[in-house]
Amino acid sequence: MADLLVLDGIRKSYNVGTPVETEVLHGIDLVLKAGEFVALMGPSGCGKSTLLNIVGLLDRPTSGHLFIAGEDTTLLAEAALTRLRGHSIGFVFQYHHLISAFTARENVIMPMLVDHGRPDAPMERHADELLDQVGLGKWRDTRAMNMSGGQQQRVAIARALAMNPLLVLADEPTGNLDTASAQGVFELMRRFNLQRGTTFLVVTHNHELAAQCDRIIDLVDGRLTGDRRIRAIDRVSRPG
């Protein structure tokens, strides 16, 4: 199976060149295969979010190389990174960051709109399909701020998938939800992973949910300390 994501000696320091310079990631080597559903675990402050931001091209590593689908992203200029991010990566954040001024449907359309520039009928259809799949078809015209946490997180998942990305990065997507909603949201991501072959990298503190993944990676103080495969990925690779 193809390597979707390759991290090669990724280091990240904050406050570079000042007396308080601190290295948060101390040389991360990691390979994610296409179609994997991976849990990233570790104590608070160990650098999980930092790693996710680097993988998501929101932040640059201080040194090391990051390959996405074979391309060395450390060589790309900002505009190219932005485009790659829009096309290949979907985000789900802990505090279900929808844009509160927009409705559920508009939030899902947003990544497509950013890419195409103008809304059109196929976009709206696609957004409605995704909302149906996350079980919120009836809520499409509700403003994000009027939805519950679990609902917002489902919309966020639909939005993350809108551009049919290669990789979805989720930073504690269930951290703010009750157990039942958390399980629901997790299953939803898992279902998309199985149906579409989208790769997921999910940060979680929840061992029960982690146990349902393909693979668990442990990060402690900026170093990878464990990498357990729980089940083999034997399904067909991503269509299209």
């Binding site: 979010s49 931001n53 998501g56 929101l58 932040d59 900002e78 505009a79 932005t82 485009r83 991010r85 829009g86 096309h87 985000f91 954040f93 505090y95 960051h97 929808l98 844009i99 509160s100 001024a101 927009f102 508009e106 359309i109 947003m110 990544p111 709109l113 950013v114 890419d115 520039g117 103008r118 809304p119 059109d120 939005r159 551009m163």
Partner: protein, 408 residues
């Protein structure tokens, strides 16, 4: 979502309509600013236009007169002035030398519309026990009334003049207790006296002129002032009223006459206009500046409030340029909508002022001159101001680090 809008417009309009309070207050602020500017500009234009019109239709734009008589001091052969104190000679009423030639050369110029001769001097008007000193102006009505729109100012009688007729001002008529059809005894130093009939009474809107100015036929004045065959001045109107001074200087340079333009004789008026224009320009700039600061302040707050949204949009792949545009558009839209509201408010204020501010007799103070271009111009200016004011907030939004913004 409107299909015809682009991403930046959709986001900008939604952010504006979402922050209803902020948007409402700043629109109110912009509207008041633009309203004040519109009101002031319209007022100023009206006052200036009306004053200029009045001046231009009640006096010639250029007058050609005989040059001042000067006394030449005696000099010895080596150039030393012998009589150091020179007394200014008395200025007699003199006829313009060669006036027929000058007149026809004036009529031949392409930058001159009307050229007509006139005779002026002072006299005493007597009726019964009352007498008043007056100025009499003799002219050829057909041409002269194209310069001074006497028919517009006549309030009783008519502006037609026979050789024994006279037009007088309303205040002179009141002082002498005379009305149309009454006779006045006009006496001058050099020419004796004549009985003239009041044909019409005018109101030039100026007390001094209404007390002193009287108009008679050219021949009547020539005989009264003992200037048979002569004229004391040639009155002109020009094609471009604001070029009158240049034309006057041009004429003065080639002909042996003193050419005075209305720009020089009304120098005070022009100084007043200049001061008014300058101060209103200052006021308008400062109002515009405070509107700009208001827009910038509101947008800065909006950037802070929406920094998470901006972070998400960046995570979704919107470039810094698109984020920049979202906030510039907000600034422009605020400026534009504010100026529409402000134009409307300014228009209402002008209308209210026009209805309420009246002369004692209920007539309008002066007609309002409101040009549509004023509204277009202020809308354009407000929009540009809005975009410029949005610059700082927009740059701030575009420079946000998405990681920081999302972590919030």
């Amino acid at each position: 979502m409107r299909r015809w809008l682009t991403f930046a417009w959709i986001a900008a309009l939604r952010f504006l309509s979402e922050g209803r309070m902020q948007t409402g207050f700043i629109l109110g602020g912009i509207a008041i600013g633009v309203g004040v500017i519109v009101f002031m500009s319209a007022m100023l234009t009206s006052v200036q236009t009306n004053f200029t019109n009045r001046v231009l239709t009640s006096q010639p734009q250029i007058q050609l007169k005989p040059p001042d008589e000067v006394a030449r001091p005696l000099r010895r052969h080596d150039g030393v002035v012998e009589a150091a104190i020179v007394q200014h000679p008395t200025q007699r009423i003199l006829s313009l030398d060669q006036w027929q030639t000058i007149l026809s050369s004036m009529r031949g110029r392409s930058d001159i519309v009307v050229a007509t001769p006139s005779v002026s001097g002072s006299a005493l008007a007597v009726r019964g026990d009352a007498s008043r000193s007056i100025g009499i102006l003799g002219m050829e009505p057909d041409d002269y009334f194209r310069i001074v729109r006497m028919p517009d100012y006549i309030i009783a009688g008519e502006p037609s003049l026979g050789t024994d007729d006279i037009l007088v001002g309303i205040d002179l008529a009141n002082d002498l207790g005379a009305t149309v059809g009454d006779k006045l005894n006009i006496t001058t130093g050099p020419g004796g006296s004549r009985i003239l009939t009041i044909r019409g009474i005018f109101d030039l809107g100026n007390r001094g002129a209404n007390e002193r100015n009287t108009y008679v036929q050219l021949r009547t004045a020539q005989s009264l002032l003992n200037l048979i065959g002569g004229v004391t001045e040639i009155d002109l109107t020009v094609v471009d009223v604001y070029a009158a001074e240049t034309v006057a200087q041009d004429i003065g340079a080639v002909l042996p006459v003193k050419a005075e333009s209305w720009i020089v004789t009304n120098a005070q008026f022009f100084t007043a206009i200049w001061a008014q224009t300058l101060s209103s320009l200052l006021i308008r700039s400062f109002v515009g500046l405070s509107v700009a600061f208001g827009i910038a302040a509101v947008l800065i707050v909006s950037v802070l409030q929406r920094s998470k949204d901006i972070g998400i949009l960046r995570a979704m792949g919107s470039s810094r340029g698109k984020i920049l545009r979202i906030f510039l558009i907000q600034g422009g839209v605020l400026g534009f909508l504010g100026s529409l509201l402000g134009s409307f408010m300014g228009g209402i204020a002008l209308f209210a002022w026009y209805r309420l501010a009246r002369q004692a007799n209920g007539a309008e103070l002066f007609p309002l001159v409101v040009e549509p271009s004023l509204f277009l111009f202020s809308a354009l200016l407000a929009t540009i101001t809005g975009v410029l004011a949005g610059m700082v907030p927009a740059l701030r939004a575009a420079r946000l680090d998405p990681v920081e913004a999302i972590r919030g």
